[in-house]
Amino acid sequence: MVFNEVMSLPILELRHVVKKYRVGKEVVTALDDVDLSVQAGEFVAILGTSGSGKTTLLNVAAGLEKPTRGDVIFRGTVLNKLKERQKVVFRRKQMGFIFQSYNLLPTMTAQENVALPLIFDGVPVRERLKRAVAVLTIMGLKERRMHKPMEMSGGQQQRVSIARALVHNPRIIFADELTGNLDSHTTNDIMRNLKETICGQGQTLIMVTHDHDVAKFADRIIFMVDGKIVSEERGGHKNE
């Protein structure tokens, strides 16, 4: 906590966030009074077993789901109080998303997939493709930019998906089990590549994973059990 006061205002802050789901007749508490503060430029990994509430934490933090109680504050704005159309603007301008299952549009080529967020921002087609190719080049996929997702390996698809999350130069990137479908060799390659890129840009990354090795790439690891943050590790030092 002392550390937070020294740093400037956090880019993302969760205050007493509670998220409950109704599953049939039962009410499941996915997040139980979570407090979290993320600084700009930080790489945070959320580690936990399945059912620990880590994906819910990510979704709530990104404004994709509304918390039952508590507030999510993104750069001074209470995200959960915004209307959907206002949240869309935040997502389009400032957030990037990477998913475990890549979530690429099968009908589009790699560069079209990467350029997709720019379409909704009204960027002209020439400019769109130029920026998409630039990011694909960073991800080492320049040669495969005209291929469709089905013609690429899992690792390549995930690189395309990362490129799509980075193309509009967001402040913060949310990643959900981004290496979940990849072998360890590819995982290491991609993680190194991703970390280099976002560090160079000063971007913030919040990543959910159940893999300790992957979590080690982060500046800070948050451990979750049963919807609560149980401990935190920073630079290899674990705080209970």
Partner: protein, 461 residues
């Protein structure tokens, strides 16, 4: 999102499922074609009837007569006399382009050896052109004409050589050549109530063209001369101001050398009062004025008749028929609309994941909605455009085969009867309508797509 990007994306999405899109478009094609062809039949009907009516008389002409009420019969309208005062009143009505009062007399006529009958109408020669008189041969009357006349194209058929054998009863009478009258002298015999007879020698200087049947059976002469003829015929009638026969001769004045008076049987004339015209011909600016003016004239107490009056009845009947035909087309298009909705809903089920991804990467509600509406409108546009093309083809086939078979010889100048007509407004209407149908059909699916929760959609996808 830019509209070009939107259309590109929408178009691409549609062609991902070629078969399904094609079938949906086919539904719209059939719907549009049905509605256009059905309406074109109704329009063709009205137009061909209009054309047929124009053959019988111009739609811009009104014939005004004095209204007659029988003694003892109560009349709602004031009864008006068709005199000079009335003529000036009619001339002042808005929309009246030209007007001529007319006298009508009739009597036996002789053309060489042939005997016949002349229905002679006196009108203002200066107005002939404006009143849509047209000659096929010779010329129209001028102000200088006195005993020169212009004959309708059918007048020659009134003449027969008494020595010739009449044709068999079941054979149509042979059509005479109107040119037989041109530049010929015809002697007309008029008789008055006192059994006096006068013979006039008339010269036919023009033959009216046969585009209008209205004037085909009459002969037209200059108003002043025909008025004198009428005055002669009226001598001896009940309300005749008792002009002695000798005086009547004097009135003929300089024309006396061409007039021979012989007493025999009575002739006929219409217009009972001395200063009263038989009827008046009114030319209006267009059909709309014709209708309004003829209604107006009736309200003023005249007896007005025009071809345009019949048009209203025909148009009403046609409108009803159009409603029925259009209704059938509309049902087809409604079915097509349901087809579009169904296709779009199916497409949302298939594309839940895609919609979710677009939402997560920053597509707004508006973007998603416009995308789906654009897709459904495109289906409408494609169906509508192809439907119009198909309609033209069907319309051509209908006119060529069915039109010719249904009404042989009814067309003008050898042109087959157009039973199906597609005016420009119908094309625009059909395209706009099919796009509109697409748009409306897309509203429900688009709203469903908006409501889709991206997280659930991606988890399930």
């Amino acid at each position: 999102m830019k509209s070009f990007d939107l259309l590109t994306l929408a178009n691409r999405n549609l062609w991902r499922r070629k078969g399904r899109t094609f079938l949906t478009v086919l539904g719209v094609i059939i719907g549009t074609t049905a509605i256009v062809v059905m309406l074109s039949l109704g329009i063709g009907l009205v137009e061909s009837q209009k054309k047929q009516m124009e053959q019988w008389g111009s739609l811009n002409m009104i014939r005004v007569q004095q209204s007659y009420s029988f003694p003892g019969e109560p009349s709602d309208n004031p009864q008006r006399l068709l005199n000079d005062e009335a003529i000036e009143e009619i001339r002042a009505i808005e929309g009246v382009l030209a007007l001529s009062p007319a006298y009508e007399v009739g009597g036996e006529a002789k053309l060489g050896r042939k005997m016949g009958y002349f229905s002679l109408i006196g009108i203002d020669p200066a107005m002939m052109d404006l009143l849509e008189f047209e000659v096929s041969h010779g010329r129209l009357l001028t102000g200088d004409d006195k005993f020169n006349v212009v004959a309708g194209s059918w007048v020659i058929n009134n003449f027969m050589d008494p020595k010739e054998q009449p044709g068999r009863w079941d054979e149509p009478p042979p059509q005479g050549d109107p040119l037989e009258l041109l530049n010929k002298r015809v002697s007309l015999t008029l008789m008055n109530q006192r059994q006096q007879k006068r013979v006039y020698s008339l010269n036919v200087v023009g033959i009216l063209s046969d585009t209008s049947m209205e004037h085909a059976h009459s002969v037209f002469g200059p108003l002043p001369e025909i008025k004198k003829m009428r005055d002669f015929i009226q001598q001896g009638m009940q309300n005749d101001p008792m002009i002695p026969p000798g005086k009547a001769m004097e009135m003929s004045g300089s024309t006396a050398d061409r007039v021979v008076e012989v007493p025999t049987q009575p002739g006929r004339s219409s217009g009972r009062e001395k200063d009263q015209y038989s009827f008046a011909l009114v030319r209006t600016e267009d059909v709309a004025f014709t209708r309004a003016i003829s209604t107006d004239l009736r309200e003023r107490g005249f007896n007005a008749y025009s071809m345009a009056d019949n048009l209203a009845g025909i148009e009403n009947a046609a409108r009803q028929m159009q409603a029925v035909l259009g209704g059938i087309g509309a049902i087809t298009l409604l079915v097509a609309a349901i087809g579009i909705t169904n296709t779009m809903v199916m497409s949302i089920y298939e594309r839940t994941r895609e919609i979710a991804i677009m939402k997560v990467v920053g597509a707004s509600f508006g973007d998603i909605r416009t995308l789906f509406l654009a897709e459904s409108s495109l289906i409408g546009l494609m169906g509508g455009s192809i439907g119009i093309g198909l309609s033209y083809l069907l319309s051509y086939i209908l006119n060529k085969y069915l039109g010719a078979a249904m009404a042989p010889g009814m067309g003008q100048d050898g042109v087959a009867l157009q039973i199906s007509m597609i005016p420009a407004w119908l094309v625009l209407f059909a395209v706009a309508f099919s796009i509109g149908i697409g748009l409306i059909s897309g509203i429900y699916p688009a709203n469903r797509a908006i409501k889709l929760d991206p997280i659930t959609a991606m988890r399930n996808g």
